[in-house]
Amino acid sequence: MEQKTAREYIQAVHALIKTANFVSNAKRTQKLSLTPTNITTSLKFLTNIYNTDKNKDPPQTCKKQTLQDKPQPSIYNSTKHSSICSRSTHRPACSQSLSNCQECPKLPSQGLEEIGRYNKNLTPLNELKDGKYGKIRFIRGEHNVLQRLLDMGLTPGTQIKVIKIAPMGGPVEVSVRGSKLALGQDIARNVFVEAETATTIP
């Protein structure tokens, strides 16, 4: 990797960090960096570039720490954002204004799609506690995965219950529409729900 390009990346991320207003979540990112996934490839990519370059005069404010603390959605939204810019339609899933378009990092297109709408009060499924309910609001993933989830009944607005999360980064067992499903961590962390306090029976 050429140093100049690497620095560009880092600067791009840095710009992002300043504009995005998501609450950072140490727990989530910790998990993120532990488990390599399709979806976190881009983040990894950046981390790697940074790591290989960190001895060669890194931009001062862009510490590795900051990069890791970056909550996942902002990166995604910006991915989405850049593709939206080129199509010049603006779906509400992206929380950034069009004026920030040029600051989107040019991440490789990952073929990710989104359904539902994101907002910053949502919790990823893998962070719900055992036995808790939520309403599905937003899912991100490859088209096939989204289609399969929809077929299994995880449509936006559906109530979902986390029955159990397997230890050691294992899958999440959920109950949805009367059936029980196991969703791998990589998938569960991209299913965002609005956590419900009342435990009504679905």
């Binding site: 539902g116 559906t158 294992g170 499903l181 196991a182």
Partner: protein
């Protein structure tokens, strides 16, 4: 005469004979009981088990019902008609294009809503439909009461209640199916909410106006095009540019006005309908903590879950050994009483002696070393399969499986591989991508199939000690992990995540378990046993005539020098590629006794078993690998097998010789 040859005239059969013949298809979600009902109707022996995805290709059977000859097709279990998987495409094309006279939609009454999502799609496909509400017993035990009339009215499709496992409702299903074969009553149109409905109709009119000769119902096609179904979009693009462009435009409009991708909108809409129908027809009373809930708690507990998972895997082996061992020794006693195998070839009449010895040797080896282990093994495997625990093991082991580029579901075919690699490799179809199927199949070629288990227990367990047999298993698992990881790096692509339905726990049904065990044992007795006998005679003859020594000599550097085994083992290993059991049977034939210590030291038995376990999949496995993945893959996997067997065998020999002087 098959009615499906002329789909335009389903009534054709009527005129030809008094009792026409029909084709009925069984369709529905995975794990709802299609194969149970199929077996009952046709007397076939499709695999039944409590995990989703057993039926991978469509199965056919016939039934004679009130004078009608009825062909029954068992379609693979699917959740939808999007064409991401082979199974979905097979089922969709079958129903849409081959137009069976009736489609029996098997529905799991205890998961009504999710099942109706698929029913709605069948209705859209204008299939002549009967809804068979199966597993009513399970639904009842979960406190669900379903109102048949309400369901019938809401869907506009005849509904039959059934408990397939007890044969209840099966007669009625066929009766109802016969009634819909005339296709007089079209399934009703299911209305979407106005904003979507308008777009569907707009596109549907266009399709109708173009009056193309399309096999698919126009409304269904319109919906699929809006969903952006790849295959159908392509199909239409080839036929009519007008429709292709229009559908793109209409879909974009819909997406814009709802601010949501069309495929999500339509799925949500179908589920909204399913949910509404369920709410009107289903009464749920609260039931707390059933027995199965408690079991679920244990099997997915953060400690007990792993304990159960490991006990399933190890327990199956231990059970096989201890029960098998007990059976084996009592049979050996009985046999020795009848006719002790005589190692000495008498000088007179050598041919006859060879024949008798070969025949008896093969027979007694089969009876004492194979059958006693196979039966208890298949019995417990059937119990495990039918109990529903497999999906829980897959759940618990998901993160471990990620280490070899797979997800938890892959453990299901691998555990089935304990039985036989061939169906296990076919079961790899439950994995989503070719890469994952390939990695899982690769792991299966190392998994201890029943033949390997026999070799381990028959050679090492019986004559050296069960702890050595278990040690070999541990080595095997280690090999799978290490090579699985290598394979993961070698095969390009990325892993997909786990999305799996968790099956309900239930008491395994004795009929299903016994039948399953019998089907598998039967194939050993009828098909494989004769091969043992013939093989055993041939080995003895060939050995007596000394035609095998060139072979043994050629392999001697490997077998004798590198692995420290007797030279004749070379022949056994070659024969073992036909069926792995031949390593054991052949050894008995050549030694002329079932007491293997007569010809091997304990260390040699351990090494031979280890090499036999790893060295090459049997021909049937290589054949299925070639069929599913191509010959290059089959050859590569075989080479990996041989390489690892020789490497580990040689190293083990040297280590063991140090520990236990030969």
């Amino acid at each position: 005469m098959s009615p499906q040859s002329d789909p335009s005239n389903p009534d054709k059969g009527r005129d030809a004979k008094n009792a026409p013949s029909f084709t009925f298809a069984l369709a529905g979600n995975a794990n709802v009981g299609k194969s149970v009902i199929f077996n009952q109707l046709t007397g076939s022996s499709q695999i039944i088990g409590n995990w989703p995805g057993k039926t991978v290709d469509r199965a056919e059977g016939t039934l004679t019902f009130e004078g009608h000859e009825i062909k029954i097709i068992d379609l693979p279990g699917i959740y939808s008609f999007s064409t991401f998987s082979m199974e979905e495409r097979v089922s969709r094309d079958y129903i849409a294009l081959e137009k069976p006279d009736a489609v029996i939609n098997m529905v799991d009454a205890s998961i009504l809503e999710r099942n109706l999502f698929f029913t709605i799609q069948l209705i859209e496909l204008q299939a002549p439909l009967v809804l068979c509400l199966n597993q009513v017993d399970v639904a009842k035990s979960k406190g669900m009461i379903i109102d048949k009339d309400k369901l019938q009215n809401a869907l506009g499709v005849p509904v039959v209640f059934a408990t397939a496992i007890r044969g209840e409702g099966i007669y009625e299903v066929i009766q109802e199916a016969l009634k819909v074969t005339d296709r007089k009553q079209k399934p009703p149109t299911i209305q979407y909410r106005p904003i979507i409905e308008e777009k569907i109709q707009q596109l549907q009119h266009l399709i109708q106006k173009e009056a193309l000769d399309l096999q698919y119902p126009s409304r269904w096609l319109a919906i699929k095009l809006l969903e952006g179904d790849n295959e159908l979009t392509q199909f239409i693009a080839d036929k009519s540019k007008t429709i292709a462009d229009a559908s793109k435009k209409i879909a974009a409009e819909l997406q814009h006005s709802c601010q949501e991708p069309c495929f999500s909108l339509i799925a949500s809409e179908r589920y909204a309908i399913a949910s509404q129908i369920t709410a009107s027809a289903l009464q749920q009373s609260e039931i707390w903590n059933t027995f199965s809930d408690k079991l679920e708690w244990v099997t997915t507990h953060k400690i007990w879950g792993y304990v159960t998972s490991v006990s399933v895997i190890v327990g199956l082996l231990l059970w096989t050994f201890f029960v098998g061992n007990a059976l084996s020794s009592s049979i050996t006693h009985a046999l020795n009483f009848i006719y002790p195998v005589d190692p000495a070839l008498s000088a007179e009449l050598p041919l006859l002696t060879i024949l008798i010895n070969g025949l008896w040797g093969g027979f007694s080896a089969g009876l004492t070393l194979i059958i006693p282990f196979v039966i208890p093994f298949y019995l417990l495997l059937a119990v495990i399969e039918d109990s529903g625990i497999l999906t829980r093991v897959a759940f618990m082991m998901d993160s471990a499986m990620h280490k070899i580029g797979l997800h938890g579901k892959a453990l299901i075919p691998i555990i089935l591989g304990y039985g036989c690699s061939v169906p296990a490799i076919q079961a790899c179809k439950i994995m989503e991508t070719r890469r994952e199927r390939l990695l899982a199949a690769f792991a299966i070629t190392f998994a201890p199939c029943s033949a390997r288990t026999l070799i381990l227990f028959g050679m090492v367990g019986l004559f050296v000690g069960v702890q050595w047999a278990l040690l070999l298993y541990v080595i095997d698992v280690a090999v799978i992990l290490v090579l699985g990881r290598v394979a993961m790096k070698a095969v390009p692509g990325k892993s997909t995540g786990l999305i799996m339905e968790l099956s309900n726990f239930k008491m395994p049904s004795p009929q299903v378990v016994l039948k399953q065990t019998w089907i598998r044992t039967k194939s050993i007795i009828y098909v494989v046993f004769p091969i043992y006998l013939v093989g055993s005679i041939l080995i003895q003859v060939a050995y007596a005539l000394n035609v095998l020594s060139p072979l043994s000599d050629a392999l001697a550097p490997l077998t004798v020098w590198w692995l420290g085994l007797p030279a004749f083992v070379g022949v056994l290993l070659i024969l073992g590629t036909i069926r792995k059991e031949f390593v054991l049977i052949g050894a008995v034939a050549i030694l002329g006794t079932t007491n293997l210590l007569a010809g091997f030291t304990p260390v040699q038995l351990v090494i031979l078993a280890l090499v036999a376990m790893l060295y090459l999949p049997c021909v049937s496995t290589i054949a299925i690998l070639g069929k599913e993945f191509g010959w290059k893959v089959a050859a590569t996997i075989s080479a990996a097998n041989i390489g690892s067997a020789l490497l580990i065998g040689g190293i083990m020999f040297r280590i063991l010789s140090l520990i236990i002087p030969v």
